[in-house]
Amino acid sequence: MLKIRNLNVHYGGISAVKGISLDVPEKSIVTLIGANGAGKSTTLRSIVGLVKASEGEINFLGENITDMETTEIVTKGITLVPEGRRVFDNLSVLENLKIGAYLQKEGIDENIKMVYDLFPRLRERSWQFAGTLSGGEQQMLAVGRALMSKPKLIMMDEPSLGLAPLIVNGIFDIIKEINKQGTTILLIEQNANKALKIADMGYVLETGTITIEGPGKELLMDQRIKDAYLGTSKK
């Protein structure tokens, strides 16, 4: 569904992503792990056109989207749940959801219902300004907002960041649920353990290049990954 070939991204003179290639098959969960600053977020941002690739090709459903505008890419059915939630705190919960469906002409109400069913908490808080929600609630809203555009591919950048363990579990349940309903997922996680567990495919990014790739379960067993990302001190 999404094919990336030899992607290079620069910030000014600094090269953040150095020629990576990856594939996201339809209806799968693919996860991208790696240390801080490895270039994970940059990869996602370049897929949706928030940063421009300096080299390489991004292909979505057979179409080259490398040089498209963000708005256009979003129209094609990709959305990003950005790092740090980024909900519109001056808009109510309901408005945040509506703005998620900005490009949608119809079916908005059903979508809202679908999101509310997924996150009953949001239904309760429908009129609250998003800025006053707790971190976990904001994260739910960010995911819900992304779902509003009925994306074919939803990309999530560290959705569990700063969340309480209970909520983290909840988020992973929801990712599985969304995927079950047919949405393809590209996930960035620091919590490599949990991510690899639910992933069909995993890629490990190190300073801008992919060093290891393979099915999630396999990577979970990989000694290099255990050492570098999973932490060996299991009590």
Partner: protein, 256 residues
């Protein structure tokens, strides 16, 4: 002996009671953790301690001296330093400058004598630089002292923020989610780091964290906050098995 004592503190924003009748004692030389669901009021508690907010009621004591409603800079001078949930370094300045700035609170010369480079100021400045280099050396950051803070990798930035807090000569260190955004491996390294500085600098550490591995491993005592209220306190084992905490915060670990 308790270094920090939070006595019946309540913090209200309009209709929201973020912290309610909070009582906490942090003992000298210990590592104490504050955990709880998102929005429970943990950061708010830190903000009250450090003087960012004035509590609606209640008091905070540092070494039995009341510090409630002092301004943040005064509280830092009295010996509490902190880091922030979202890193707040002086981004465009060098590592060394970041550390030197944290030394400024001890500068005795006034602005005139420092601009005019009076001998006593030059002495202070030299002393400050030497001290900062020693600190950076101890924390293994000396090699990057001339780098611009924002160009550092995330983990180093976290470390630098802690180093900067230490440079104020504070004895009580408040860390707000130091491991946020770190993977389990990096988190483990951080655990070691915090333990080491506690011993090296003779510190008391009070921290907020959601990474349970870190918290359970390192804390001498844990306080659990929910809806602004303390729902549990105790050692790691007490907390892990406390049903209220599990229900409100930990959830059931699926497995290993």
């Amino acid at each position: 002996m308790s270094v920090l004592k939070i006595d019946n503190v309540k913090m209200q924003f309009g209709g929201v009671i973020a912290v309610n009748n909070l009582n906490i004692d942090v003992e000298k030389g210990k590592i104490v953790a504050l955990i709880g669901p998102n929005g429970a009021g943990k950061t708010t508690a830190f903000n009250v301690i450090t003087g960012v907010y004035n509590p609606t009621s209640g008091s905070v004591f540092l070494n039995d001296k009341k510090i409630t409603s002092l301004s943040p800079d005064k509280i830092t001078k009295l010996g509490i330093a902190r880091t922030f949930q979202n890193i707040r370094l002086f981004k465009n300045l060098t590592v060394m400058d970041n550390i030197l700035i944290a030394n400024h609170l001890n500068v005795k010369s006034n602005f005139l004598s420092s601009a005019l480079r009076m001998p006593w100021y030059i002495k202070e400045e030299n002393h400050m630089r030497k001290k900062s280099e020693m600190l950076l050396d101890k924390l293994g950051l000396l090699g990057i002292k001339d780098e611009i803070a924002s160009s550092l990798p995330y983990g180093e930035q976290r470390k630098l923020e802690i180093a900067r807090a230490l440079a104020t000569d504070a004895k009580l260190l408040l860390l707000d989610e130091p491991a946020a955004g770190m993977n389990p491996h990096e988190t483990m390294e951080l655990t070691e780091f915090i333990r080491n500085i506690r011993d090296e600098f003779d510190l008391t550490v009070f921290m907020i964290e959601h990474h349970m591995n870190l918290v359970m491993e390192i804390s001498d005592k844990i306080y659990v906050l929910d809806f602004g209220q303390l729902i549990a306190e105790g050692t790691a084992d007490d907390i892990k098995n406390n049903p209220r905490v599990i229900e409100a915060y930990l959830g059931v670990e699926e497995d290993a």
